[in-house]
Symmetry: C2
Subunit: 202 residues, 2 copies
């Protein structure tokens, strides 16, 4: 368990953790297996005892990031549970904030570096969990007449698309700086949500 040992003790999780750190400090483009290994204090091929290949490590980092996102949104969910209008705004805002504060983790999660063919069950599971969370928010808002009634799954996808798309475009610098600076992100965000909501939000 201590450092310097031949057997690390918990190398698998250590590698995931180091991966997250590298993403935060150096970005997606500079995330290499060998660097992760070196930074974890093991030799360059050690990760292969725990991950089939680089894809598998990325899948694990991705899964870990989805868990972080889920926890973050769950916290907000509990805070605003009884107020559907705020619930919709704040959970969506939390999603956006996650994307902006941990851009490279967020990009990795949706970066198609993962050619998913059902090969990573943990990843699929946490993805499902996140969508279920979203569904609950939508259903609460539908009950409160904040969102149009009807197929909750359809509205959930629409809502997700709107927020996710905004996050992506902002991260890629595609939102014209003129528009961004004139209105500010929060106003743009609220404008998007207000398109979907039945009532004026905030």
């Amino acid at each position: 368990m201590s450092e310097g040992n031949y057997h690390h003790g918990d190398l698998k999780n250590a590698l995931i953790q180091v991966g997250v750190e590298i993403l935060a400090e150096e970005g997606l483009g500079r995330l290499s297996l060998r660097k992760v290994a070196k930074q974890a204090g093991v030799s360059h091929a050690a990760p292969y005892s725990h991950f089939k290949d680089k894809q598998a490590l990325i899948a694990a980092i991705s899964t870990e990031s989805f868990k972080e996102l889920h926890i973050q949104i769950e916290t907000v969910f509990l805070d605003y549970k009884e107020n559907p209008k705020d619930l919709l705004v704040e959970t969506s805002w939390a999603y956006l904030q996650f994307a902006l504060t941990k851009p490279d983790q967020f990009k990795l999660m949706f970066s198609s570096v993962l050619e998913k063919e059902k090969k990573y069950p943990d990843f699929v599971e946490i993805s499902h969990l996140n969508f279920q969370q979203l569904l609950i928010v939508v259903e609460i808002c539908q009950d409160a007449k904040i969102l149009k009634s009807g197929q909750a799954s359809l509205t959930a996808v629409s809502l997700w698309s709107a927020v996710h798309g905004l996050a992506m475009l902002v991260l890629e610098g595609q939102i014209s700086s003129v528009v961004l600076e004139e209105h500010g992100l929060k106003e743009i965000f609220l404008h998007s949500l207000n398109q979907i909501a039945l009532v004026e939000l905030k």
Copy 2:
């Protein structure tokens, strides 16, 4: 100009073209400078006469792809110019279709492999052009009471986010296959657009 010559004649555009082909046939992960060079029939370092580094080539491929997208949407625009309702649906649908039929080009365009915004003026220019195109569509729809009046740029960003987000989530396989197969992409797409539009579309 012919092949086999020491001087290629139009290597720069040839490299871009080969890059697009590799994206279509092998995907983003297998796009390397050396492979592009080999496939263009030149030595591995030849691209450096035309591009500062790999980023620059990617920027050029990206720019080229944005031009393709622009032309494709422009065609649809001209077809439905006089019918605002169809205009909104069909131009947005064209965007989605581009993403689905040329997934790796589309991913590359928004893949954050491009880090510098100001360094590639051609890229910035075509991006602006695309947003201007979108703005026109929004304004036409606002005039026709298809979209809420107000800041066109805000609504444009919302619309773009919604369609772009849906495209991304579909490409990444994040839309639950249950939802996708039950409703179909077109219905999901229309549901998203109907959230934003003032009238029922299609």
